[in-house]
């Protein structure tokens, strides 16, 4: 089974040649790869959209993780927006709060949809449910937002990595924010090439981001990295829609991300041994949560 596209260049060329949105190329490739009907594929994505919507709603009501490290920030940000005092803009903060809401639910072992991973699951839905209020998309356009995000993520996953253990946080929240930026552009009426430019602009600002979760939990700094990822996605999309282009082509940016990931030391790739996890407070939190013997390689019996 041949794929329709393996690079962003091929993806954009296909969309332009056939005068179709990127989301449509992704649906066609999925039909070809899995021999499933369009209806089945779209229905599965609609289900994923509903899971994302429920997670955002749940998080906005306030949740708390078992460790107590995260939870409740989505509510704080929503209340601040309502106060009318926001400086960076209500839409950006709305996206930030909804990204945080999703990741707070994830940290509390609630149900989410990985985009492309669970640790980065807030950015795509957070931005989607924020721009929704401005662009008033149909449900179909919201589903297409996810297919467009998926098309770019597909290229990253196959040519680089979407795993923090393999490529650091740049591979997770970096990929998610760049995917979201590309999808925002399509929903706002931008061209496939502008989606690619938005992806590049955001990814270039995520390069080098390490994966250093405190106590190994997908909480600190993951939740706040989703927050900033959502903000960057919106700004990157606006820049691309304004006509700003990336000097480095998208596929080369992805290749750079891959090489940076490969040269990252293991301590900074989801082992909880470096970065913020290795700070005095990070270590103290780890000891508090797991007890001092966490690092001694104990055996757990049922």
């Amino acid at each position: 089974m041949e794929v329709l596209f393996g690079t962003v260049k091929e993806l954009v060329a296909l969309a332009e040649a056939q005068n179709k949105p990127i989301s449509e190329i992704m649906i066609e490739q999925e039909m070809q790869m899995t021999r499933r009907s369009r209806e089945e594929i779209v229905a599965q994505m609609e289900n994923n959209l509903s899971v994302m919507e429920s997670a955002v709603e749940q998080g906005l009501q306030g949740v708390k993780s078992t460790s107590g490290l995260t939870g409740g920030d989505a509510v704080l940000i929503q209340n601040y927006i309502k106060s009318g005092k926001s400086l960076s803009g209500d839409l950006i903060l709305d996206a930030v709060s909804k990204a945080v809401a999703t990741n707070e639910v994830n940290a509390a072992m609630g149900m989410i949809c990985a985009t492309p991973t669970a640790g980065a699951a807030g950015i795509v839905p957070g931005t989607l449910f924020a721009v929704k209020d401005k662009l008033n998309p149909t449900r179909e356009q919201m589903v297409n937002y996810l297919f467009t995000s998926g098309a770019f993520g597909f290229v990253v996953a196959n040519n680089a990595s979407i795993s923090g253990a393999a490529g650091g946080c740049q591979a997770e929240t970096g990929s998610a924010a760049s995917m979201a930026a590309a999808a925002i552009v399509e929903m706002a009426g931008g061209t496939p090439q502008q989606s690619a430019e938005a992806f590049s602009i955001v990814m270039k600002n995520m390069l080098g981001l390490v994966c250093d979760p405190v106590a190994g939990l997908v909480e600190v700094p993951c939740v706040k990295r989703n927050a900033m990822g959502a903000a960057k996605a919106l700004v990157g999309a606006d820049m691309a829609l304004a006509g700003v282009v990336s000097r480095i082509p998208t596929d080369e940016v992805i290749e750079a991300m891959h090489r940076i990931g490969q040269s990252m030391p293991s301590a900074l790739r989801e082992t909880a041994k470096g970065g913020l996890a290795a700070t005095p407070t990070g270590k103290a939190l780890e000891a508090e949560i797991f007890g001092k013997d966490k690092t001694s390689r104990d055996t757990v019996n049922s």
């Binding site: 994505m45 460790s67 609630g110 990985a114 909880a272």
Partner: protein, 220 residues
């Protein structure tokens, strides 16, 4: 191509907190249980790399046990998998290993009951996608590029022909196939990657073939 479907990128729907360390781990456990074919009575789980360092925080342990109880990635019962296992009388042990594995997220699961046991090595490659790299000492090279059928069978003449005929009769094409055995005349394993998704009809037909002892699937 490591990833084939958009739903490996926008998905899976899962219980948090980590796609690689929770959802991928649950899938490794579930494949192990599928390959074993029934509820195991005991399990020993060796963890390597990032799995060994951070399994508690990510719920990797409850996820693997959840998988062994046949829970899917989005099954809320993953959270109570330890208690559920205890209620079923299943004992388990997690052993974080110092030695480096080829992949940072590697688990070796040994499980069994009074009737037998199996050993499987799985890796979680990101976004909830996993690969099986070893089964009962057979290196698998099961890439996850294609939907796959794993057929455990007795090493007898005609079994391979019967299995490939059953697949052909469904109009399906085999993309890649490998057959391995431990000892002449004993247990053998066929790993068959096909070009398209298969359905229950084919799996039931394969299970009914003589000398086929277990059929498992990887629908990546």
């Amino acid at each position: 191509m490591k990833y084939r479907s958009v739903f490996e990128i926008i998905g899976p729907v899962m219980i948090g907190p980590s796609s690689s360390h929770t959802a991928g781990a649950a899938r490794i456990g579930r494949v192990a249980r599928d390959l074993f074919g029934r509820q195991p009575e005991w399990a020993r789980i060796h963890l390597y790399g990032s799995f060994a360092e951070t399994y508690k925080g990510h719920g990797t342990d409850v996820a693997i046990i959840g998988g062994l109880l046949d829970y899917d990635t989005f099954d809320e019962r993953i959270k109570t998998a330890f208690e559920d296992a205890a209620a079923l009388g299943m004992t388990f042990e997690f052993i974080p290993e110092e030695e480096e594995a080829d992949h940072p997220n590697t688990a070796k699961i040994v499980l069994g009951d009074s009737q037998g046991e199996i050993e499987l090595v799985g890796i979680s490659i990101g976004g909830g996608t996993m690969e099986v790299t070893e089964l009962n000492g057979f290196p698998l090279r099961l890439s996850g590029h294609f939907p796959a059928l794993l057929v455990v069978h007795d090493d007898r003449s005609g079994v391979i022909a019967n299995v490939s005929n059953a697949i052909a009769s469904q109009g399906m094409n085999i993309a890649h196939m490998e057959v391995g055995r431990k000892e002449k005349g004993k247990m053998a394993l066929m790993v068959i990657e096909v070009d398209q998704m298969f359905d229950e009809t084919l799996i039931n037909e394969l299970k009914s073939l003589p000398n086929v002892t277990q059929v498992s699937t990887l629908a990546n």
